[in-house]
Amino acid sequence: MAKQIFIDPNERRKPSQVTFENIPVNQYQKRMKDVRGEFTDEQLKNILYDMLSIREFETMMQDLRLSGKYSDIAYNYSGPAHLCIGQESAAVGQAFALDENDFIFGTHRGHGELIAKGLNTLRKIDDDALMEIMKTSGDGAQLKVVEKDFQGTTKELATRFYIYGIMAEIFGRENGFAKGLGNSMHAFFIPFGVYPNNAIVGGSAPIATGAALHKKVAHEKGITIANAGDGAAARGPVYEAMCFAAMDQYKKLWDEKGGLPILYNFNNNGYGMGGQTCGETMGYDVLARIGAGINPEQLHAERVDGFNVFAVIDAVTRKKKLLLEGKGPALLDVITYRFCGHSTSDANPNRTKEEIQAWEEQDAIADYEKQLVENGVMTEAEIQEMKAKVHQINLDSFKLATDDEISPRMNIREKQDSIEKYIFSNTHTLKMTEEEPKMLAPKEENPRWQQIQKKSRTGIKGGKELPSAAVVQIRDAIFEAILDKFYEDPSLISFGEDLRDWGSAYGAYKSLEKSVPYERLFNSPISESAIIGAAVGYAMLGGRSVPELMYCDFMVCAGDEIFNQLAKWQAMTAGQLKMPVTVRMGVGSKYGAQHSQEWSSICAHVPGLKVVYPVTPYDAKGLLNSAMAGTDPVIYLESQSLYGQGELFHGEEGVPAKYYEIPIGEPDVKRTGSDLTILTIGVTLYRALKAAERFEKEFGISVEVIDARSIVPFNYEKVIESVKKTGKIMIASDACQRNSVINDFAENITSMAFDYLDAPVITLGARNWITPIYELEQEFFPQAEWFLDAYHQRIKPLPGYTPTYTFNKAEDMRRGKLGV
């Protein structure tokens, strides 16, 4: 969506051919003797040390799961154990080429990268900085344990600190790097540039892409690496992430040209759990081939022999250089092999002993040891001594990490908020960074802003509704909030489909591009996973974003990113990471079954997401301001049928032009009454108000209408107060009735105000059907007359009233039986 790009029919229609460069496969064949001069002895020894550390750690995990013992000490570990025995050289080679400014994102099989990157980075940090990191981590929780009786260098202390912290984390102890809330498949240590591992296959790809985006936008040093297995190459989000990272606009349209500094690194062990990605479950033959499908640079893809640590060091070093030159993204297909099963419960039904044996005979560690001896770097005895030392540190850490006195688990009975307090960060942070925000012109020069100044800020004058075009509409309220925020928070970026120039599907962003530069407001590919995943990664590095998904129907395309990533990383890192992400999503109308679903209830089900659904301009601006002033993920729903709605409730003032916030979680009484309470979510507010008019005029029933505004969190106080007064409540939402959050509301209200209820709590949701065509929507979504019909049949018969629709127990029973 950029007018400066001319799609030339002559160019598009002329015959030609697409050509490909050759993709290198295992071209690097050097061994230690060939590169002896490029490494110091110490570096060569460290490489062995790090590989041995991983092997020892993983062997311990395997022993614990298979025999319940490590070094004859019994310990019952029943958590996951996706081990990388055999893959150590790939992890250590990668880490060798990186420093503390390079960030890696990993997989469920990520202990190797975690250990390798940490041990390598701690050697590159000076002792004072290292001590500071150790003192700060968990308020010194790990340091206190390992420094007791320790005599030695800071680096050795840091090694013990690191191995102990990882182990405590994996065993779910409060001294773990994430207080035990991350554990095996999600371990990390941010000060060493190890960002969270991810238990969802390919889950790190979109996130690492967002982190790379942050590095580019914020001009930070270093690269990011999305580690993945070969199984992940088939995952849609991985492909989406690579497309997102390879967008032409970085190099063609952005002020500062250059691709995202990200390396998609596939540790290719030949198996996606059991499925053989070469020969069985994929058709690519060579994984590196997929780079050729993404961009003309073919992602600089190549295959390297991961069993040769020098080949990995060489490849990662070269890719890092390309990335820092702005030539990213890049892809590596690193051949490796795991000697152990997918997990310790894997009986290897799908591979032969011969195959495993053949690879074991070429074990990278054994081969590397041989080369050390051959090249006179270490003697056999020195190697044995090193092995003993690695074992000793691992064993010491194991004893400490499994000691319930030294390394207890969270005591949730004693401190009931132990986990609860990490679900939301609840901070008030107006801007994430302090520098001057990059903008194109002063706010007052924005033509849309100027136009809004001329509009009436209230939608109602002298009791009459003003025409939509003359008033500040919901789309204007959203525009005002986001425009202000762009001028306030330099870290803020917003992206999604058709935002820039088009102004997002319903014009909320119209003319925003006149003020906001490309790098802060851009169009993305139609890649919902990448959009949300990138926002998650961008947040992990401290940036605020407002990604947009055009319709909430599309959120399931980003299901993992919203529900497993966005919602969970604050708690899974025990609050070390914040998620200042406000996801704008349209709730469609008129567009049928796949574009007109109200899915607030689905979002409300998953812990860790705040969910708001404002339906007036005043609420839309105030809640968006609050969402963008916090550091929690907020699902911000906008009704596409209400973008033109003016403010009818906020008196003379209407929508304030100045900044204000509405606390998330506070419902609002939109109309007061004494005989019946109606609580609404979203657009049902307006239908409830119509119903309230009829109740009052035709039956003398005074209705109080409360707009939920927020769904998570939700303060029940006002609603309970109202129910105590009226004794009767109806709750409405456009979400399909079954499992709608209105049922949750009903249950809580029933239990909180049981003795005050003078009738059953009535819930009015949409039918459990598909959303039909617009002309039939009134048969599907709750309408004003539904309130009267249900009241008549479930609360109290209305004199002389003839209901149109059936609301009784028998009908509920019938629908239940049919599942509709």
Binding site: E721, K724, K725, G727, F754, D755, Y756, L757, D758, A759, D789, Y791, H792, Q793, R794, I795, K796, P797, L798, Y801, T802, P803, T804, Y805, T806, F807, N808, K809, A810, E811, M813, R814
Partner: protein, 408 residues
């Protein structure tokens, strides 16, 4: 339309009652209060009386049937009334039909009844049975309405709403007491004559003003219950004692209420509160005095009163103990009296009349609040004490009683 008699629930744990014997047959005429049937429990038998007048049109059970509580037992109405079709499932019936597959467990109404009749339809499981909303049930229970089935239901699905209970209470409250025509002449005993003279003197020589106020008696009731439960020294302290205690303490702050109007020119304010306590005896009203009640403990006041009242009733009270009161409390609460106009004992300028605790309903912002209320009637001598100061004293006293634990 015919009425339905419902099997009452005798205790919370009973789901069924044994209907051991019928006293009536179908076709019998019955009046309200006539015995209908007998319920047998493990511990006792209980006769159930008719709540309606008319003819027994239908008995759903024979003798010795197990009947679920709160379900219909029989129908009483006029000949020709339609008998509601009730699905009755008793254990006896179930036993009898064991093995039959067409069980009598009623099914939900079919949808074919449609929307048009939905407003008045009931579901089969509850045919003939009224539901009651939690809010209405609470109000009914607080007002001692056990069998709410007698309340007519205006809610959907045959449900009793709060407004139905209020209407029922209003209607039930309109009972007219009966007058008697008897009369006899009696000769007044001495004490009666003394009382008569004092009272007349009181009314003729002073300007008496009576005002009433109500306090929420939840606090004193709770405290009394606590004392009783603890079974300590305080176990016999009554609510009346608590009121005496609070009165004495409050009076100490209002010396003008603790005074004697000795002439039209002079009044005496007392530092000590000597509390006169009206005691009803066979011989007539006696008013012994608890000396310096403002400094006595609750337990002392309680013990003093018990002793003094005992002496009054036995007739052994020393006349000294009937003197020197600076303020009087008269408690008719035990008789269920709500409020009255106590008459001063000159030269005292104040007397407090204590009424019974009874439940009252008031509209609060949280809805209808039903609470235990106690009415205090204060008579003052307007010559010395104006309405305002008297009201301030009474207000303070009510507050102290509502926060009695803090006072103690």
């Amino acid at each position: 339309m015919a009425d339905v008699m419902i099997m009452p629930r005798l205790s919370l744990n009973e789901e069924t009652n044994l209907l051991s014997q019928w006293y009536v047959s179908e076709g019998d005429k019955v009046s309200v209060g006539d015995k209908l049937f007998c319920i047998e429990t493990d511990k006792s038998t209980l006769d159930v009386d008719s709540e309606f007048e008319g003819t027994v049109l239908k008995k759903y059970y024979e003798d010795y049937a197990v009947v679920s509580v709160l379900t219909p037992v029989c129908v009483i109405g006029q000949e020709g009334d339609e008998i509601p079709e009730l699905e009755v499932v008793s254990e006896a019936a179930q036993e009898a039909s064991e093995g039959e597959t067409d069980s009598k467990v009623p099914e939900a109404d079919s949808v074919s009844q449609g929307a048009m009749s939905a407003g008045t339809m009931t579901t089969g499981v509850e045919k003939g049975m009224k539901g009651i909303s939690p809010r209405a049930r609470k109000l009914a229970e607080q007002n001692g309405i056990v069998n709410y089935q007698a309340i007519s239901a205006s809610g959907a699905e045959n449900r009793i709403l709060e407004e139905d209970v209020i209407r029922y209470m209003r209607e039930r409250g309109a009972e007219v007491p009966q007058a008697t025509g008897e009369k006899k002449t009696i000769k007044l005993p001495k004490i009666r004559k003394v009382i008569a003279k004092n009272m007349m003197n009181s009314l003729q020589s002073s300007a008496q003003l009576t005002m009433t106020s109500i306090f929420h008696a939840g606090g004193v009731q709770a405290l009394r219950a606590k004392f009783k439960a603890e079974q300590g020294d305080m176990k016999n302290v009554t609510i009346g004692d608590l009121i005496l205690f609070a009165t004495a303490r409050t009076l100490a702050e209002f010396p003008y209420m603790n005074s004697w109007m000795v002439s039209d020119e002079e009044a005496i304010e007392f530092a000590d509160v000597n509390l006169g306590c009206a005691v009803d005896t066979e011989r007539g009203l006696m008013v012994p005095t608890i000396m310096a009640a403002n400094v006595k403990s609750l337990l002392d006041i309680s013990d003093d009163l018990k002793e003094l009242a005992g002496q009054c009733r036995k007739g052994s009270i020393s006349p000294d103990k009937l003197k020197e009161a600076t303020f009087t409390v008269s408690n008719l609460g035990a008789f269920g009296i709500r409020s009255f106009t106590p008459i001063l004992n000159p030269p005292q300028v104040g007397i407090l009349g204590v009424g019974a605790i009874d439940y009252m309903v008031k509209q609060t912002k949280e809805g209808m609040l039903c609470y235990p209320a106690c009415t205090l009637s204060l008579t003052v001598d307007h010559r010395l004490v104006d309405g305002g100061p008297a009201a301030r004293f009474l207000k303070k006293l009510c507050e102290n009683l509502e926060h009695i634990e803090e006072l103690i």
